[in-house]
């Protein structure tokens, strides 16, 4: 079966597209899937450094489309996961170095040999985004529970729906802070889903391990955040895994009190 092509996008910058792409591609590889992660952010490449592969790049996506190398020569194999590859962006060029048709051609060539192709979209709604969604069958829309990123996500969803061949969108709510939701200081996952009206696929808790993973180039697989990325990978594969809304049990005094009283009554 040809690969599923999933573009990770958000509109707004800094919400966690690249970390989502990196973590999710590792999670899919851990489920024995053959995965290529494509960095479509030409000129501002970062997926390589987040995945810890920045020193192994020989050729990039633009070298491929301009015929300086074969596609297989540009693919960088992940250090820990043999079925995961990175197709890096060019750093010295800009978005105009690539067209949606070229992107389509590259993805078509990869499709037969892989299970998943994840495309890390640049921020914005211009050429770079258009390149990134052109070959997609599905989109992961990443947002934070915060007004500006939700607004931008809404815009992106509108653009995706306006495509000639509409594609399925899934919502990833990233950097959720359950204690703030509990206080009424942060939009809940339900709020965000109600506003955006697309299918939820993951609620990733705010977790310092994600930053540590980026800093070291080694995905922190024993973390709350990565656990949810694994869940997203499984949900993408059709498994039905309930959403752990918010792991707030350990946080509030009320719930701790409730536990104490619950313990006494037994």
């Amino acid at each position: 079966m040809p690969a599923r092509v999933i573009t990770v996008t958000s509109g707004k910058g800094g919400v966690g597209k690249t970390t989502t792409t990196a973590n999710l591609s590792v999670a899919l590889a851990m489920l024995d899937k053959k995965v290529v992660a494509i960095d479509a952010d030409i000129g501002l490449r970062n997926l390589d450094i987040i995945m810890g592969l920045e020193n192994r790049i020989v050729y990039d996506l633009i070298d491929v489309v301009e015929g300086r190398c074969r596609l297989s020569q540009a693919l960088v194999k992940h250090k820990q996961h043999a079925t995961l590859f990175l197709l890096p962006a060019a750093q010295t060029r800009d978005k105009s170095a690539l067209t949606p048709d070229q992107m389509l051609a590259v993805v078509e060539e990869l499709k037969p040999s892989y299970d998943f192709i994840l495309i890390d979209s640049p921020a914005g709604i211009e050429r770079g985004f258009q390149n990134a969604v052109a070959p997609a069958n599905e989109a992961l829309v990443v947002t934070n529970p915060e007004v500006s990123s939700v607004r931008d996500a809404d815009r992106i969803i509108g653009l995706i729906e306006a495509k000639d061949q509409p594609i399925r969108s899934h919502l990833v709510i990233n950097r959720m802070k359950p204690h703030m939701v509990k206080r009424g200081d942060m939009l809940s996952a339900d709020d965000v889903v109600e506003i955006l009206s697309i299918k939820l696929i993951g609620i990733v808790p705010d977790d310092e391990s994600v930053l540590v993973g980026g800093n070291t180039g080694i995905t922190q697989v024993d973390s709350k955040a990565f656990n949810e990325f694994l869940n997203i990978a499984r949900r993408l594969n059709g498994e039905s895994i309930p959403f752990a809304q918010a792991s707030t049990e350990s946080d509030g005094l009320l719930s701790r009190l409730a536990k104490v009283f619950g313990g006494n009554s037994n």
């Binding site: 607004r151 509990k182 206080r183 009424g184 200081d185 942060m186 939009l187 009206s197 509030g252």
Partner: protein
């Protein structure tokens, strides 16, 4: 009781005010209706005024009862107008009138249809009501006519 627990859960004591999460949600919904429909709140106000004007040509309504709003449902956008009709009371009075012959049910349906299609029968209906106890008229019609007179030909 709630205050006690709220203090421990970190909730703000003044719960009458919307929480930051609630205001985020409301503000987002408002801004997204404008973003998605390209209809500004100002456009919406103008539209409402014009809708009131059009409806008032046919029947009595109070403009402050009218609510025209944009609603988002599952990524589809709707223009929703709630226009309470004052002369619902007229129709009811008409229907309840004992002087009509017993076949009056279907006849009334027809007359209501005709009344919606053309403005003419409206006047005759008013005339009918005049012959009856003027309860309904006192409630409904005069305010509407006064408004018309004030803003219109006078």
């Amino acid at each position: 009781m709630t205050n006690f627990f709220d203090r421990f859960t970190g909730r703000k004591p003044n719960d009458d005010e919307a929480s930051p999460a609630q205001s985020a949600k409301e503000r987002l919904k408002l801004v997204l209706t404008t973003d998605r429909t390209q209809i500004s709140p100002e456009d919406l106000r103008k539209m409402q005024a014009e809708i009131v004007e059009v409806v008032q040509r046919y029947t009595n309504i109070d403009d402050f009862d009218v609510d025209v709003s944009l609603e988002l449902r599952d990524r589809e956008n709707f223009l929703v107008a709630n226009v309470p009709l004052k002369n619902a009371t007229h129709n009811n009075a008409h229907r309840a009138r004992p002087t009509q012959p017993t076949v009056d049910e279907p006849v009334i349906e027809e007359s209501v249809d005709a009344y919606e299609d053309e403005p003419e029968p409206y006047a005759s209906q008013e005339a009918h009501d005049d012959t009856e106890p003027n309860r309904a008229e006192a409630k409904g019609a005069p305010t509407g006519f006064h408004l018309d007179d004030d803003e219109g030909t006078d």
